[in-house]
Amino acid sequence: MTRERRRGINPIISRRGLIGFGAAGAGTLLLGGCDKLNSSDSFRGALKGATGLNQRTQRFLMGNGLAKEFAESDISPVFKANGSKMVADPAYRAHLAEGFANWALRVDGLVKQPLMLPLTYLKGLAQRTQITRHDCVEGWSAIGKWQGPQLGSVLAAAGLLPTAKYVVFHCADLYNGAPYYESIDLTDAFHPQTILAWAMNGQPLGEPHGAPLRLRVERQLGYKQAKYIARIELRDTLAGLHGGNGGYWEDSHDYQWYAGI
């Protein structure tokens, strides 16, 4: 290392100083241009590239790891209901009035055997009960107890065709006037904590929480936990499903399909 120094030169503003202020000015312009960048397709593409990296990194790190499960004493006193809290569809309301006695879940798409599964059938499958934390994309959390069959056992009953890659949940509600739907891939579909919950905190699901059936996919955020599930469709691609991004929020607001963050 050589020590460098210059003595006796004492300009008020050096050339390097000017370069510095140029850089600071460029920085200000950059910040002022954030909105411009935000609406640039190529910049958004770069940001979304990082989101893809997030998904691959998380999947690599968590493997088949489980979401934390809690004790009864940890359950939120008030589990906030969000999104649709009621369903206007007349057929749904008729089923609700009958306690879903004549309701059935449709399973179709890329399956060997399309099925119509009554609630009694789903309750008769091996059940999983889990007390987990529900994390809303907005930032809040609530802890609840969920019970239902594993999604994997329902998919096994229908039998997947080799081309099936995505599980799509079509819901009975309209949110902001549009159908709600969500999708997950087979990694999450066959995760042991991924269940079709018909009970919450020991009671059949209430309407605000998605009666008669909602998805619990515990390693992702709240908007993936589809409520009022009416139909499960197996697909090879998300292209052609509404806007093609795999879910209501993904299509309408550019939310990320992988919601592990």
Binding site: E4, L66, W140
Partner: protein, 260 residues
């Protein structure tokens, strides 16, 4: 920081007015990368906070006062429930999804930059030589002396200005070893995917909502550092200070004898 001070040549050879190499390239690169990353993270983070402007302690928290998960901070009454205004958020108009896109992309830059810089600082001896407080510096009398000097705006001159004083060491150390690692770890803890991958993190911070609160407090710790840092740069001579962080060249402040 100070290559010159690390030399074996006696420091008396240096005088106020000398132009010396101060910050090394790695420090300068990290500093400006961090400026961009922290700025974007803060502005996009404030937009994310706007989506649910309440903070809680513990595992859960979703509801306003009157429930059993009361918020310790509730800003929903400000600005129609979006407390942080558009000039300080990315993007400037409400979009949780766009803010998340920015936040989770620039998080990589922030995290990789500080991790690399801490590793380099450890290996190169920067931490031991320039940042670690010495026992004598931590003596209350020395701390009090430095606080009084700072309050009177009397800053070290000549070669002494090449060494970080104890208040600088505590401030920079607080950012490098507490606030930045803290904000990254609490940020990771809010991810349900990370919870499944690294379950101990959420226990370490006492729950997801505690982690979210700590994340916010770390952010405001960094904002506090920013204002003090800028004030000190302005008081110490902004052109000389900014130049030293861009080019590495720093002009030693003149000694008091020279001034007299």
């Amino acid at each position: 920081m100070n290559e010159a001070a690390a030399e074996t040549a006696p420091e008396t050879a240096l005088r106020g007015g000398d132009l010396v190499r101060r910050h090394r390239l790695v420090t300068r690169l990290w500093h400006w990368t961090n400026v961009v990353a922290v700025t974007v993270m803060l502005m996009s983070g404030l937009m994310i906070f706007n989506a649910h402007p309440r903070l809680y302690w513990g595992q859960f928290g979703a509801n306003a006062a009157g429930h059993l998960d009361p918020a310790w901070l509730d800003l929903t009454s400000i600005n129609h429930g979006r407390p942080f205004p558009g000039w300080i958020t990315i993007p400037s108009t409400y979009s949780l999804s766009d803010a998340r896109l920015w936040h989770f992309a620039f998080a990589w830059i922030l995290g990789l930059a500080i991790a690399s810089y801490l590793l380099w600082s450890l290996i190169s001896g920067h931490i031991k030589r320039d940042l670690a407080p010495r026992a004598a510096e931590l003596a209350p009398s020395h701390l009090w002396h430095d606080i009084k000097e700072h309050a009177a705006l009397r800053f070290p001159t000549g070669p002494a200005a090449l060494q970080y004083n104890i208040l600088q060491k505590l401030a920079y150390g607080g950012v490098l070893f507490v606030l930045l690692p803290g904000i990254i770890l609490t940020g990771l803890t809010m991810s349900p995917g990370v919870n499944a991958a690294v379950p101990f993190l959420v226990d370490l911070f006492g729950g997801r909502q505690s982690a979210r609160s700590l994340h916010f407090l770390c952010a405001f710790g960094l904002v506090g550092f920013f204002f003090i840092h800028i004030a000190m740069v302005v008081l110490a001579g902004p052109i000389n200070e900014v130049r030293s962080m861009i080019t590495g060249w720093y002009r030693l402040p003149a000694e008091k004898e020279d001034e007299a």
